[in-house]
């Protein structure tokens, strides 16, 4: 879906020029590769800043030397806000809720000055009701991604539940709260198997659909510590290096009891972000043992053995997609598992749907490469994995409890979900 959502920023007057949209469209499509988010337009000295969210381009224009940081951050917030108000982000939904979005924009921005992006405050001003799209359409199906595999399991809410407009609760929707702990790992393992770099970025996200909830208390692991110096107790601490909190979070109980207190606004909120660098509490989840050699027929033989070092009792990890980027390959003769060759990126992609903890998988690729020389061996490599580990956090962070006050009626539901993604998991060969 392609839609240009125009956004007025500093100095851009309310009169919008439709040709600007075309200019932007041309610029975005003319550069198929990745381009920096700040695009300069030479005519009229107008600058575009854009981000991509939910398959849509969110564009702001400015003529002044304003801060692109502010604009990017704002566009991201705006898209989150629109998502809060309209439910799902997609083209039809936005078209249908045009007036609502316009009203939102009017409150959010005044003459290019950002006034507020808090959905709670905005709720006081917004009159228009969201037009909800149908409960199940193709877009909803495409949204199943993140927790899709769990939808069959009774313990986890269907993913569509978390993507409905916040106004929906007025009409007697279920009152629910979701607390998600999402972590992204970036790991580099050297060719000698040594862990060269390991970072974890994580965040706690709260999606609240409880109209009369005044305070949430989220308890983290008690042994949670920030920074290197303050290791507590027996050393099994859950440690992060840096931590930042949303400004609605009150931290008076954090230092002693590791409790985050906040008065949630309706919709989504990133409560806490944290970063752990250079040190994982446990061994990296996957190890690769590659063998690469040339056979007599001038073929490149790549033998990969992949181990999953998660505890054996941990459940299936699914779904897993492994991207094994092996540069330079011409023909894949005997794929051992489901694998495909991508000549344009000179890569072999090996897909593994499920992978249990403590097990091992292997693959053998034979690649026919014309003019294979010993130097070409240098060009093979690195292997990158992308995966998703549900119910696991790399840092070990856990939500100890989730208390709501005033006490909610019994039919309200609380969900706590954990997931770890690979941000960039690279193993060098």
């Amino acid at each position: 879906g392609f839609i240009v959502k125009r956004e007025l920023s500093q100095k851009a007057k309310l009169s919008i020029y439709s040709d600007l949209v075309n200019v932007f469209y041309e610029m975005v499509t003319a550069l198929p590769g990745d381009q920096p988010p700040v695009v300069m337009v030479t005519h009229k000295d107008r600058y575009f800043v854009h981000v991509r969210q939910g398959g849509l381009f969110w564009v702001a224009t400015t003529t002044a030397d304003s801060s692109p940081f502010t604009i990017i951050e704002f566009l991201n917030r705006l898209s989150a806000l629109v998502k809060d108000y309209c439910g799902v982000l997609n083209e039809t939904n936005i078209t249908e809720n045009f007036a609502l979005i316009y009203e939102l924009l009017d409150e959010v921005l005044d003459y290019g000055y950002i006034q507020t992006t808090s959905s709670d405050i905005l709720k006081n001003f917004i009159q228009t009701e969201a037009v909800s799209s149908k409960q199940f359409n193709l877009f909803d199906l495409s949204n199943v991604g993140l927790f899709g595999a769990d939808t069959q399991q009774s313990k986890v809410a269907p993913s569509t539940a978390a993507t409905r407009p916040i106004q929906g609760s007025r009409e007697g929707g279920k009152s629910e709260i979701f607390v998600d702990v999402i972590e992204r790992m970036s790991v580099v393992i050297g060719s000698n198997g040594v862990l060269m770099k390991a970072d974890v970025e994580g965040e706690i996200r709260v999606k609240c659909y409880m109209p009369n909830c005044s305070e949430i208390r989220i308890g983290l692991n008690e042994e949670f510590s920030i920074g290197k110096s303050q290791l507590r107790g027996y050393g099994a601490a859950v440690r992060v290096d840096e931590c930042s909190f949303h400004q609605a979070v009150r931290l008076d109980e954090f230092d002693n009891h590791r409790i985050l207190r906040l008065s949630p606004s309706q919709g989504e909120l990133t409560v806490m972000q944290y970063l752990l660098s250079d040190e994982l509490p446990s061994a990296p989840p996957f190890r690769l043992f590659p063998t690469i050699e040339r056979d007599k027929g001038g073929r490149l033989i790549v033998y990969l053995k992949l181990r999953c070092d998660l505890p054996p009792n941990s459940l299936f990890i699914s779904p897993c997609v492994f991207n094994i980027v092996v540069s330079l390959s011409q023909e894949l003769s005997s794929p051992d598992q489901r694998a495909e060759l991508r000549p344009e990126s000179r890569a072999v992609v090996w897909n593994i749907p499920r992978f249990a903890g403590g097990t091992q998988l292997s693959a053998l690729f034979k690649l026919d490469i014309p003019d294979l020389s010993s130097a070409s061996l240098l060009e093979v490599g690195p292997v990158s994995l992308s995966f998703e580990l549900p119910k696991l956090t790399a840092t070990g962070l856990q939500i100890r409890f989730l208390r709501l006050s005033p006490i909610q009626p019994s039919q309200s539901q609380r969900w706590v979900r954990y997931v770890t993604h690979s941000d960039s998991y690279t193993i060098r060969v």
Partner: protein
């Protein structure tokens, strides 16, 4: 509701009776307006219904009201009548009991850009600024900024700016933030006024509000704080302490604004203090955190970190690992990370960095691989200990035979040879093996250079070079020039075997080429070789200056300016805002604050100095002493008056020609300069191989550079007691590759001088200064050459005083921004009657009024002061308690100016009325008055 093709438009007007229908059709209209879609051409029909729409304003339904207002905003411009109909509603809504409606009305009012109605809106706005509800106040604050954009004068006259200033002390932080934002924006268009009035009390208020307001409000306040110059380090430290908590904010824009404030104030803190070091430590984690955002945020963050690393590498020196590239980073993020990695590379981490770079060099993306290879070379140049390892890594890469890797490697190996001569020649053989695969000019030129440089060690150097010669005319200029030089080098090293070759290349270069650079270089070599081979050897084979470690550092002065713009577009483009924002307020550049203990550049010793030594022809003009007047006063002082609006004019100025060439061509390179201009501000010491190719400075930069020359100098020097303006920076170093010129005009012994200070802020020394004046309005020319004969070393300054004369050709300049005011009394010319007659004679439309503010003098002192500056009072009257001074002056080019100065006792603001047949000079005369009276 959906918008389909079957827009049943005709029903629109008819169905306005039912509320729901109205609502939906308004949606429709608004959607149509905003999408400007070709499908729905409703425009002409909408006009008809505008009356109905305005009637809808009376509704109490908030939702409908909002839509009507939205409609008004979009359509008022094209239908001003409709806006006028709406005025009453606005006024009424501004008094509505519901604060939401009051705010809505104020917000919409400001967006209606119809001149006729703005004046009706002043009263409601004034009320709303003092509204009891903060939501209304904050909206009203922004409305002032909107109104200022429509009619600045009115906003000032109505005193809205003062109300806005009062709002800074408001109890609601959101109101404070909006007031600050509005004031900041307004003050951008008034660079000289101190609208925001930043003083310690106000700063304190802002800091208090900072803790309470929304994240976006924090950004406004932090940006405003960064414009404040604390008076001492204690104040700077206390502000820093209160800003530091913002660094852990989740909003990256807030973090970056806080970083900007801290980076600026760090300048003021003593480097050895504990606090300074703590602060440096605190800056690094937030910068690292910025890199965990979306790629868009990462990119902007990296561009800013690039600046910060150049300014203060110590902040991130421990954090090099976070700049290691992830395989799934977008390419623009990868390239930026690579750049920062190199800047942070040091002996301590070079092993790690090299290992990473080697990995990158085998990636898939061509651009990235190239940059990685180049980065390996830069490491070698930067960290000497690693050079050996870098070279062997590069050799490994050459072995892969991947074409672009090889070519890139050869280019960087050339630089390594430059840096460490005679150390790694052993690898030349390997390089030569790849000669045939090189197809890019850069790589070919690099290879040729290597062959020429080490010709004596390469047995078949002549064959190699000859092979390039075959397709000489198809090569790019770069390769041609390098080849020419290489063959000459070869000839000087092995004269016996290569005579034929050198003759061939010289004839190719001089006779068959259209390229003047190539021809010129060819002729130079030819003559050198034919007249004096020994000298030729000295010239061509002379020892080359060392290349610097960092090849692409930003000039320090530009860097300082960019640091002040952290977080803005300028920091992403790495260009000053004036270079890309149209109509930018280039006049007031931002500077880093200067630490007070080290003031030595601020005041120029010359400005006060010469006055004492001068033998002053102090002329007391008496009535009828015409001759004396003419003799002495005609050589009056030049006055250079600021001309703010001249930025875009691109005018050629007093120093135009000289600077033109300075900025345009000559600076760039020795051979290819622009001899036609004949100006010689040429720092000729740029080493030829590494001379930047002549960079045609963009026209805009040239003209603004020229205008800068004058916009700041209110130079004016007169007889005893006369006022000599302090030196002002005419040519900032940013504009002229590191040469900064500041200066003023003075008058000593009846002669005009242009006193200048040249400062070299570049990394190389500069020589051969000369000056030429272009034709100007006053015929000003120098009477002797520029007395600078010694080379100007980096960071050295030279004082020069250039005598001037006004006998040169006169040409009227437009704009008259360098105005040499020749003051001249009217005394001999007339009595009061003549003055009056002339006053009446000049048409009234030529009369311009100005305010001279904050001047605490009485009429006599004023008159005396002005007289010292050759402005004579013809008559003085007292009308209704006010002193009226009638004065006259004449410019060297014969323009008379009559002035009436009205002084009210007790009121520090004087009114100056100027009448002149050429009203364009009045502005400058006023500024001169202002300058004289305040000194």
């Amino acid at each position: 509701m959906t918008v389909g093709k079957d827009v049943r438009y005709p029903t629109l007007i008819l169905s306005f009776n039912s509320l729901n229908q109205e609502k939906y059709y308004l949606y429709l209209i608004i959607i149509t307006i905003n999408l400007q879609s070709q499908l729905f051409k409703l425009n002409y029909k909408i006009k008809n219904c505008s009356k109905n729409v305005v009637n809808c304003m009376q509704t109490d339904n908030l939702e409908l009201k909002k839509l009507v207002y939205l409609y008004l905003m979009n359509y008022a411009k094209s239908q001003p009548d409709m806006a006028i109909m709406a005025v009453n509603s606005f006024v009424k809504d501004c008094e509505d009991p519901n604060p939401l409606i009051r705010a809505l009305a104020v917000r919409t009012m400001g967006c209606i850009r119809v001149d006729k109605i703005t004046e009706y809106l002043c009263e409601p706005l004034r009320k709303c600024l003092k509204d009891e509800d903060p939501y209304v106040r904050k909206t009203a604050a922004v409305c002032v900024a909107k109104l200022h954009d429509i009619n600045a004068q009115m906003v000032e006259d109505q005193g809205f700016l003062d109300s806005l200033r009062d709002l800074i002390a408001d109890s609601n932080p959101m109101v404070v933030a909006n007031a600050v934002a509005a004031l900041s924006e307004i003050s951008e268009s008034h660079p000289n006024s101190n609208l925001l009035d930043l003083n310690p009390q106000n700063i304190n208020k802002l800091l208090t509000a900072l803790n309470e307001c929304t994240e976006w409000g924090q950004i406004f306040i932090l940006d405003c704080l960064s414009n404040y110059n604390p008076k001492d380090e204690r104040e700077a430290q206390s502000i820093c302490e209160r800003v530091t908590p913002r660094l852990s904010h989740a909003n990256s824009a807030v973090v970056l604004s806080a970083v900007k404030v801290l980076m600026k104030f760090l300048e003021l803190l003593p480097k050895d203090s504990d606090y300074y070091n703590t602060l440096l430590k605190k800056l690094s984690p937030p910068l690292v955190t910025l890199l965990s955002g979306e790629p868009e945020v990462q990119y902007v963050a990296l561009r800013n970190i690039n600046l910060i690393v150049q300014k203060r590498p110590e902040i991130l020196k421990q954090e090099i690992k976070v700049f290691f590239v992830k395989y799934n980073d977008p390419i623009y993020v990868k390239l930026e990370k690579l750049d920062i990695m190199i800047r942070l590379a040091s002996q301590a981490n070079i092993a790690q960095v090299l290992a990473e770079l080697k990995e990158y060099a085998t990636e898939v993306d061509v651009d990235f691989v190239r940059k990685a290879v180049r980065a390996i070379g830069r490491c070698a140049i930067k960290v000497e200990q690693s050079a050996e390892r870098c070279v062997s890594t590069l050799l490994d890469l050459i072995q892969t035979k991947v074409n672009y890797v090889v070519q890139e490697a050869i280019v960087v190996i050339r630089d390594i040879f430059r840096k460490y001569p005679n150390k790694y020649e052993s690898i030349i053989a390997t390089l030569c093996e790849n000669l045939d695969s090189l197809d890019e000019p850069d790589a070919r030129a690099a290879m040729i250079w290597i062959v020429g440089e080490y010709a004596e060690r390469i047995d078949n150097a002549d064959e190699l070079l000859e092979s390039f010669l075959e397709g000489f005319h198809d090569e790019s200029t770069q390769v041609q020039l390098t080849l020419l030089t290489a063959i000459v080098k070869l000839f000087l090293k092995k004269p016996s075997e290569t005579q034929e070759l050198v003759q061939k290349v010289l004839s190719l270069a001089t006779q068959d080429s259209d390229n003047p650079d190539l021809r010129d270089r060819g002729y130079i070599y030819w003559r050198l070789l034919s007249t004096d081979p020994v000298t030729a050897k000295e010239v061509v084979l002379s020892e080359k200056p060392l290349i610097s470690e960092e090849t692409d550092l930003i000039e320090p002065t530009l860097l300082d300016e960019l640091i002040c713009h952290i977080g803005s577009l300028a920091s992403v483009y790495h260009k000053p805002p004036s270079a890309f924002v149209e109509g930018s307020h280039g006049v007031h550049r931002k500077h880093l604050p200067v630490q007070h203990s080290s003031i030595d550049t601020g005041e120029s010793p010359v400005s006060g100095g010469p006055a004492a030594a001068m033998d002053q022809p102090h002329v007391i003009p008496s009535q009828g002493d015409l001759l004396g007047d003419l003799l002495n006063l005609d050589l009056g002082p030049p006055v250079n008056v600021p001309q703010v609006s001249s930025m875009q004019m691109g005018a050629v100025d007093l120093l135009g020609g000289g600077l033109d060439s300075l900025l345009g061509g000559d600076l760039g390179g020795g051979v290819g300069g622009s001899p036609a201009v004949g100006q010689n501000f040429i720092p000729s010491s740029v080493p030829s191989t590494f001379a930047p190719s002549p960079t045609p400075a963009p026209a805009a930069a040239v003209s603004s550079g020229l205008n800068d020359l004058f916009e700041l100098s209110t130079g004016m020097a007169i007889t005893t007691g006369g006022y000599i303006a302090p030196k002002a920076v005419w040519l900032p170093a940013v504009k002229a590759k590191g040469l900064e010129i500041s200066g003023t005009f003075s008058r000593r012994q009846g002669h005009m001088y242009m006193d200048m200070t040249f400062t070299n802020k570049a990394l190389q020394h500069m020589t051969d200064f000369a000056v030429q004046f272009n034709k100007n309005s006053f015929g000003m020319i120098p009477t002797s050459p520029l007395p600078i004969h010694t080379p100007l070393m980096p960071s050295q300054s030279i004082e020069a005083s250039l005598p001037l004369n006004t006998i040169g050709p006169v040409m009227k300049m437009d704009p008259l921004n360098n105005l040499q005011v020749k003051t001249h009394t009217l005394a001999q010319w007339g009595k009061r009657q003549v003055f009056l007659a002339t006053w009446k004679d000049i048409p009234n439309e030529n009369e311009l009024q100005y305010q001279i503010k904050e001047c605490h003098l009485n009429a006599d002192t004023v008159s005396g002061k002005l007289q010292n500056n050759n402005i004579y009072t013809i008559a003085k009257r007292n009308v209704e308690g006010q002193d009226m001074l009638y004065q006259s002056l004449k410019l060297t080019n014969g323009i008379w100016i009559l002035a009436e100065l009205r002084i009210q006792p007790g009121n520090p603001n004087y009114t100056l009325s100027l009448k002149c047949r050429a009203p364009e000079v009045s502005q400058y005369v006023y500024q001169m008055y202002d300058a004289v009276l305040k000194n």
